[in-house]
Amino acid sequence: MEAGQPAQRRAEGVRDGARPLLSVRGLGIRFKTAQGIWQATRRIDFDIAPGERVGIVGESGCGKTITGLSILRLLPGNFAGLDGKILFDGVDLASCSARQMRAIRGKRIAMIFQEPMSALDPVFTVGHQIAETLRVHSNIGQDEARARTLEMLRRVGIASPERRIDDYPHQLSGGMRQRVMIAASLICGPQLLIADEPTTALDVTVQAQILELLRDISETSKTALMLITHDLGVVAETCTRMITMYAGEVIEDATVDEALVRPLHPYTSGLLRSLPHLSPRHGRLPSIPGRVPSIAEMPSGCRFRARCAHANRGCEAEQTLQDAGGGRRVRCHRFAELNLPGALHPPGAPIAAKVATQ
């Protein structure tokens, strides 16, 4: 395993000169299908610093979930190969042994999913399932495992954990199940938590509770968070940095505030403008014409150009993720000349009006 070479730790992704916890370089994932080999993602580059909260944003099929799964090497059966490197604290997860991976998965990198019911085993108590992670990764006795499980359940906001620890998953509500999943993922004190749409299945009032919990835990235990979501509001509330993906590529990487106020990629701008919060009531919603290209017939050059209002001849060339200054990166050759609207642009929008009156 090569430790991160200086060339791989490019300065733009590294915050405050700290060494990144996770460094993904040139990651591409391929799948076997009846129609041949499909390239699901390619040239994925990003870093996550220790304790940093990063949102991975994109619409269905953009490759955000598969990028999260590939970090833990939880790839589906038709997986056909992987390019690039996934450096976690100096270890390349893309090429390390299965044994090394098992020592990291669940202990140093944990993951939670959208639907807690499919991740919890219905025939074991939640206490058993949380303690299991602990017993696999450390050499502790049953009593201590139970004590630490109780402590963790309290930490994630389960009321009277002594009563809940012996419950089965079906006895809990959706929000409580997601809390149990978070408890199980955090019990070994991971350095990185990957959360894939953790609140999409929850009601908005419960979602607010879970997002607050994730933010709080990340701050107090310095756990880095990689939050995969389609919801820009969730990212704005939870993360400090936002990586936007489109058609299997990273197209923009910026702080959340920068990306919302002044997006540099036309796709990021288009997504923001299509949100109903940001348009005048009863007015027409701006939308992005066309649809995401099919994985089987990806266009050459910029993958967004067929839907982009700013496309020109230069977009027919392959686009690279360029340094846009101030730690920002964007995959668009026209970023410097375009002045794209962000979240506060339409003056008649309810949110812009609200901000103006404050």
């Binding site: 619409e59 979602q207 919302l260």
Partner: protein, 339 residues
């Protein structure tokens, strides 16, 4: 004329009076009061939004409005008449005027039928015209929702989610309904397409004079498209009023919390500092709390809220609320900071 009064407004296309819908649990030992005493009118040509979290009963109301479910008690009048009192044949032709569209177009379209065949089916069942006329109507409906001619020969799997939802809308339009209940119709669509479909709904309303009942959990969607919005909690309406009023000057603590909980895509400097995070989750509709149903999670609950069911009252013109304390002057989102 008030929403709770027995006489429907003259412009009411739907009037709902003391609606109750109850279900037996599968072991038949308990009754779920999914909808428990709801009153409202839907006015002709408007978009009436119903917002609520899962289990609030919003979908049950939607299904009851088009008589996919029968009310356990109370009445639903269509244009002033009770459709259940009609003879069977008449009832069946009557319900063509009141259509419903669901969240998942994949579940609504038969994967083995072409798009044209799916859109033709309601016309065939209604025995409208001859074959050529039906095909003409179906093709017009597809064109109306912005799908090119050649889509008629395709199968659902060849279409994107947004296109499939357009097909479902086209199919609902073939019988020229007066009202369409839209139950989470954009929830399954990606952000960038959602706008297109919402714009289509607005165009159809303008051109065809449709009335919509828009049921959703998404505050941003409901406040964008609706003229009036009702907020539902545990089988009952807690607030109903013009959208601007409800969104900007909410009266009920639940509405205030719901608006505050919504994650907003705003930079950190512009986000509200004091969000209200409600504790706990929605209680079971099998055994709802006494008095005010929201009291177990309400930051302002008083002993009175346990003892007495709050009255459904028109606190401001056209703006209804069920809360004992909604008219207290210090009862505003800004005073909820530590809640």
């Amino acid at each position: 004329m008030t929403a709770a009064s027995a006489e429907p407004r003259r412009d009411a296309i739907v009037s709902v009076r003391d609606l109750q819908v109850r279900f037996q649990t599968s072991d038949r030992r308990a009754t779920v009061k999914a909808v428990d005493g709801v009153n409202f009118d839907v006015r002709r040509g408007e978009t009436f939004g119903i917002i609520g979290e899962s289990g609030s009963g919003k979908t049950t109301i939607g299904r009851a409005l088009v008589f996919l479910l029968n009310p356990s008690a109370g009445a639903i009048l269509h244009d002033g008449i009770d459709p259940t009192a009609l003879p069977r044949r008449e009832f069946q032709s009557h319900r063509r005027d009141y259509q419903i569209i669901f969240q998942d177009p994949n579940a609504a379209l038969n994967p083995r039928m072409t798009i044209l065949a799916s859109v033709l089916e309601p016309l065939e069942l209604a025995r409208i015209g001859n074959r050529a006329e039906r095909e003409k109507l179906a093709r017009e409906a597809l064109e109306r929702v912005g799908l090119p001619q050649e889509f008629g020969a395709r199968y659902p799997h060849q279409l994107s989610g947004g296109q499939k939802q357009r097909v479902v809308i086209a199919r609902a339009l073939t019988l020229k309904p007066k009202l369409i209940v839209c139950d989470e119709v954009v929830a399954a669509l990606d952000m960038s397409i959602r706008g297109d479909v919402l714009n289509l709904f607005a165009d159809l309303q303008r051109d065809l004079g449709l009335t919509y009942v828009f049921i959703t959990h998404d505050l941003a969607v409901v406040s964008h498209i609706s003229e009036r919005v009702a907020v539902m909690y545990l089988g009952q309406f807690v607030e109903l009023g013009p959208t601007e009023e409800v969104a900007e000057r909410p009266l009920h603590p639940y509405t205030i919390a719901l608006l505050s909980a919504e994650p907003r895509p705003l930079p950190s400097s512009m986000r509200q500092e004091s969000r209200i995070v409600l504790q706990g989750e929605v209680p079971s509709p099998i055994d709802p709390p006494s008095g005010c149903r929201f009291r177990t999670r309400c930051p302002h609950a008083q002993p009175l809220c346990t003892d007495r069911v709050p009255e459904w009252r028109e606190l401001k013109p056209d703006h209804w609320v069920a809360c004992h304390f909604a008219d207290r002057p210090n009862f505003s989102p800004n005073n909820n900071a530590g809640a």
